[in-house]
Amino acid sequence: MTTKTDLATQVYRVYIKASPQAIWDAITKPEWSERYGYGGRVEYDLRPGGRYRAFASEDMKRARAEMGGSPTPDVIVDGEVIESDPPRRLVQTWRMLMDVDTEAEGFTRLTYEIDEIRPGVSKLTLVHELERASRLAMFLAGEMESAGAGGGWAEVLSDLKTLLETGESFHSA
C-alpha cells in the first residue's frame, strides 16, 4: 500500500566529490552552514533528543526587510535530532519558523543519508517527509522562488556541491 506519507515525501539526491565526513560537517557545523544555501548558522546537539536550530543570517534579515516582509525571527528552523550516525545518517525533526503557516504545520521529518560510492565521491540523499505540511512543501520544492523565497532544497544542495567541490559557494561569488 502506498501511504499518504509517501505521497507527501520529497526526495533529493546529489553526488559530490567529497568524503562523507566533509558532507557531514557541511550539514552539521555552523562555520560550513553559513557558507551555502540560505547562509544561516546551525546548532546541532547530535544525540537522540538533542536540539537543532538554524539561525537567520544578516543577509537574509536585510533582504526580507527590504521586501517589506514581517521581521525575520532569529531562529528560522527548529527541531530535534532523532538519530545521529556520523558521517552516514542523520534523522531529525524540522519546523520552519519564518512563516506563520509553516510554523502552524509543525514538525516534519528529515533524513540525510551519505554513502561513499568510491573513494572521494559520495552520494547524498535527502528525504523530507512532509505530511500535513503542504505550504512548507511548496517552499522546499522551490515553487515560491519567484516570490523571493529561494529555490528550496534543490538550490541548497546544488550550492553545497559547488562549495565542497570548488571551495566557493555559488551565492557567495
Binding site: M1, T2, T3, D6, L7, T9, Q10, V11, Y12, R13, V14, Y15, T125, V127, A141, G142, G151, W153, A154, E155, L157, S158, D159, K161, T162, F170
Partner: protein
C-alpha cells in the same frame, strides 16, 4: 558521458519528459501507476525509468513491498546554476555596460 550529458539525453525524449511531468504532479509513484498513463509495455516504461534513474532525475526508493519513484530536481538545478545563470549574468552585465556607455555620452 558526463552527468550533464546524461541529463540532456534523458530529457531528449517525450515519453521521459511525460514521466517527469507525471511525477511533478504527484511524486512517489509505483511503476504500475506510471505505466497506466502510457500506451506502452511495462518493459518499455521500465527502460525509460532506467534512463531517468541513470541521469538521477528519478530516485527509486523502497517503501514496504513497493518501489516508489521520486522526481529529483537537483540535476536540473545544477545545470541551471552552472549554465543559465552564467549567461544571464553576462546579459545583465552587458546591459549595465551599455547603460554606463550611454550615460557617459549624455554627460559628455
Amino acid at each position: 558521458m558526463t552527468d550533464d550529458d546524461r541529463v540532456f539525453k534523458a530529457l531528449a525524449d517525450p515519453t521521459r519528459r511525460f514521466l517527469l511531468d507525471r511525477l511533478f504532479e504527484r511524486d512517489g509513484r509505483t511503476l504500475t501507476e506510471l505505466e497506466s498513463d502510457l500506451e506502452m509495455t511495462r518493459f518499455g516504461v521500465m527502460k525509460h525509468l532506467r534512463v531517468l534513474e541513470d541521469a538521477d532525475l528519478v530516485v527509486a526508493r523502497r517503501s514496504g513491498r513497493e518501489k516508489l519513484h521520486f522526481l529529483n530536481p537537483v540535476p536540473i538545478r545544477l545545470i541551471h546554476d552552472r549554465w543559465i545563470d552564467k549567461y544571464r549574468e553576462r546579459q545583465v552585465s552587458a546591459l549595465a555596460d551599455l547603460k554606463r556607455e550611454l550615460e557617459k555620452e549624455d554627460t559628455a
